[in-house]
């Protein structure tokens, strides 16, 4: 039985993540595992800069740190459990009954990577609780999760809207071919109207690739429309999403190296940021 891994935290995206997971699980006939990770980052802040070593400094410090961690961790635990229970209750409203809860300590990215091994789809919010300071700013964990994950990642937008029309942003790269395969084969996307758009110059090779992709997708239920639109991918896709009322953007993710993405920025991040719809990413 397929499995959806939904990652929730204290951000406003938690409810939307649960809604998206419920939608995906419904279409895939999957069970849902809700994951909450308690990070290690902000634990044990002792502000002692005296630089002295008293008698038994080591064991005293260990005791102090243990106590501080204990208090913080207990709070974080209670908060996490409340989040998980709220998510479970929300899923039950959606009629999803096969729900597992997963409550872990550790780094978010590493924990997701461990947990996704048994899952078929990972659902995360566009931003986490630690990144709520600036609108249109992506969560720092998102790119790392997408880069590290071997399964497709559904990035939830702020609120869930019923999904009717899909857009596949197709650039001919290996990861977007994986998106094509998935769309063609998996029940998650059967029956939706689908636009396949390639942004950029109208060359013979890109037109051929687009035609081939569209041909692969025609046999599924729902209309398929392939288009080649000149321009910068970010602007072209963004406009298309707005004009055609697209509900879900599907694309291959992070085709370029991390170094390039650090220097010139990543197309994927830019699209997730500008398109205010959920995004399904394939690597």
């Amino acid at each position: 039985m397929p499995k959806v891994l939904a990652c929730v935290d204290a951000s406003v995206y938690a409810a939307s993540v649960v809604d998206h997971a419920a939608w995906a699980a419904g279409r895939m006939g999957a069970s849902i595992t809700i994951l909450h990770v308690i990070g290690r980052k902000d634990r044990g802040g002792l502000s002692d800069l005296s630089g002295t070593l008293g008698v038994d400094a080591n064991s005293n410090l260990l005791q102090a740190l243990t106590e501080a961690d204990e208090v913080n961790a207990r709070l974080a635990q209670e908060r996490g459990r409340a989040l998980l229970e709220a998510a479970r209750a929300r899923l039950q409203e959606h009629g999803v009954t096969r729900v597992d809860l997963l409550h872990r300590h550790g780094s978010f990215v590493e924990t997701v990577c461990e947990a996704e091994a048994e899952a078929d789809l990972v659902v995360v919010g566009k931003r986490g609780a630690n990144a709520d300071f600036a609108r249109l700013h992506l969560g720092s964990n998102l790119e790392r999760v997408v880069r590290a994950a071997s399964k497709p990642v559904l990035v939830a937008s702020r609120g869930f809207r019923d999904i009717r029309r899909l857009l596949l942003a197709f650039d001919g790269g290996p990861s977007s071919w994986r998106a094509v395969e998935h769309l063609a084969a998996k029940p998650l996307f059967g029956g939706f109207d689908l636009d396949v758009v390639t942004a950029g110059a109208d060359t013979a090779s890109s037109r051929d690739a687009l035609e081939e992709a569209a041909a692969r997708l025609r046999h599924r239920a729902g209309a398929v429309e392939a288009r080649l639109i000149p321009g910068e991918p970010e602007a072209v896709i963004g406009n298309h999403v707005r004009e055609r009322g697209i509900d879900l953007l599907v694309m291959g993710a992070y085709g370029h190296s991390r170094v390039r993405s650090l220097l010139v920025g990543s197309t994927t991040s830019a699209m997730i940021r500008t398109c205010l719809v959920p995004v399904m990413l394939f690597r």
Binding site: K41, G45, L46, L49, L61
Partner: protein, 495 residues
């Protein structure tokens, strides 16, 4: 992919805390680096360059983020004779060789050997280190003016009492500044750091030690390098465990071995002495909020910056202030709880701890103390396990057959007990030795069994040995059953 995650976590997860803690550590490192140079008998700049090079390099290459390494007392104590007899250049060469040995240790995963060093040995190591640091201060306290005693006392008072006033300024630094100010203000004629030798006035430069590349040189430096490498790794791995516990995070011990090696090679080529991880400074680092690799880099860089900029002032620090700081380091290093625990712990572990301390204080060599401690704890362990052994016997109803049922651990330490439990003087027709529930661990055990069989036969008894295959399964080296509960159960079953 995980590599990037790890890099990010180690370097950038705690920038503010790491920078702040790094500065505190740098301030605390200055007097220590100078103090340990004094112990080793070299110019202060050797210890300061070493502390810079080792702190920065090991923070980058080591396996334990948040741990502070620099010139240390443990290694300085081992160099004294080499520096006195052969000079600085040989020390630099020995430091580079020490680093190479440690890199090798990292590659053959010598970190695993740490598990043979018991907690009692580690406690002994730490206590001995504290005692040696204190003893190294004694020459500065013998036959000096009353003013010096007053200065040392005042320094200790400031270090211990100032944190009650505020904890945002490192109190050892306050003590040093106050005492230096007092010495200058009253024009006291005291020994100062400037009297000890050259202080750095520029950044360190790359230089190859000026020693002949001959076997003779190797013969001189190798014994020192081996001892330095061993003690350096021991203290580093021990400190890594302490930081693991404090921060509740794991570390890569073999990478730490190689990382220590790389830092010592770098230190040697930059004109620094050998060093290792520092228990005290690492505790101070964690206490001040340092968790990541950045803290070590900041500590080393800021230390060098301070020294190069403030060198003139540093040379005016009176030795009495340094002595006060060193006494504080000594008190902070000593495991006071171990004194309390003597009553609660078994005698054997106390003997191991005290022997380690005694040998170190006697030889001034931490490596020898640890070897003695490890050997003693091995012997004590063997004698304890040897007690897990019992022989039951019964005579058949007609009085012709004697059956011995051997249970427990038979090895070199219990082989004699095994033989003593058999009655060779009894006249029986047949002897059955059932070893199905015993474990024969080594050749001594098998030899003892052979001997028993031969002796019974010479008394005219027919001998049958039951279950030897099961019993001797433990003799096979590398029987890796510890991950297989069923196999472990089979092997140790019945006890």
């Amino acid at each position: 992919m995980h590599l990037f995650t790890a890099v990010r976590r180690d370097w950038l997860s705690n920038i503010r805390g790491d920078v702040l803690a790094g500065i505190v550590v740098a301030l605390a490192l200055i007097p220590e680096a100078i103090g340990f140079s004094v112990i080793a008998g070299v110019d202060p700049k050797v210890g300061l360059y070493a502390s810079f090079a080792i702190a920065v390099t090991s923070a980058i290459t080591g396996g334990r983020p948040g741990m502070i390494s620099a010139a240390t007392a443990a290694t300085a104590l081992l160099m004294v004779d080499l520096v006195r007899d052969h000079g600085l250049e040989y020390l630099l060469a020995a430091t580079i060789l020490m680093g190479l040995l440690q890199i090798g240790a990292g590659f053959v995963k010598l970190g695993r050997l740490m598990r043979f060093v018991s907690k009692s040995v580690i406690t002994g190591f730490v206590n001995a280190l504290a005692i040696l640091i204190f003893l190294a201060q004694v020459p500065e306290l013998v036959g000096v003016t009353p003013v010096t005693y007053a200065m040392v006392a005042a320094g200790l008072a400031i270090i211990y009492l100032f944190p009650r006033l505020t904890r945002v300024v490192p109190s050892p630094l306050v003590a040093i500044m106050a005492l230096t100010g007092a010495a200058i203000w009253f024009g006291l004629d005291m020994r100062t750091v400037g009297d000890l030798g050259e202080l750095p006035s520029a950044l360190p430069t790359f230089l190859v030690p000026d020693v002949p590349l001959t076997l003779e040189t190797l013969r001189i430096i190798l014994p020192y390098s081996i001892a330095l490498a061993a003690v350096g790794l021991l203290e580093s791995l021990l400190t890594a465990t302490i930081v693991d516990d404090l921060t509740d995070t794991p570390s890569d011990k073999n990478r730490e071995c190689a990382g220590q090696g790389v830092s010592n090679v770098v230190s040697g080529f930059l004109g620094g002495m050998g060093g290792c991880a520092m228990i005290g400074q690492s505790v101070i680092n964690v206490k001040s909020g340092g968790r990541g690799r950045l803290s070590g880099v900041v500590a080393g860089s800021f230390l060098l910056f301070l020294i190069v900029v403030l060198g003139e002032w540093v040379s005016m620090i009176p030795m009495a202030a340094l002595v006060a700081v060193m006494i504080m380091v000594s008190i902070g290093t000593f495991s006071w709880s171990s004194v309390r625990d003597i009553r609660a712990y078994p005698v054997s572990s106390t003997v191991v701890m005290l022997s380690t301390v005694a040998v170190v204080v006697w030889t001034h060599d931490l490596a020898q103390g640890v070897i003695v401690g490890v050997l003693l704890s091995g012997i004590f362990f063997a004698s304890k396990v040897a007690r897990l052994f019992a022989v039951r016997s019964r005579l058949s109803e007609d009085g012709r057959v004697r059956t011995y049922e051997v249970r427990g651990q038979v090895f070199f330490a219990s082989a004699e007990t095994f033989l003593a439990a058999l009655d060779f003087r009894e006249v029986v027709e047949k002897v059955v030795i059932d070893v199905g529930h015993a474990h024969f661990w080594d050749v001594s055990a098998i030899a003892a069994l052979d001997k028993a069989v031969i002796k019974f036969r010479r008394e005219g008894a027919e001998v049958e040995v039951l279950g030897l295959n099961e019993a001797s399964a433990t003799m096979v080296d590398r029987f890796a059953v510890h991950n297989d509960p069923v196999a472990v159960e089979r092997m140790t079953g019945g006890h």
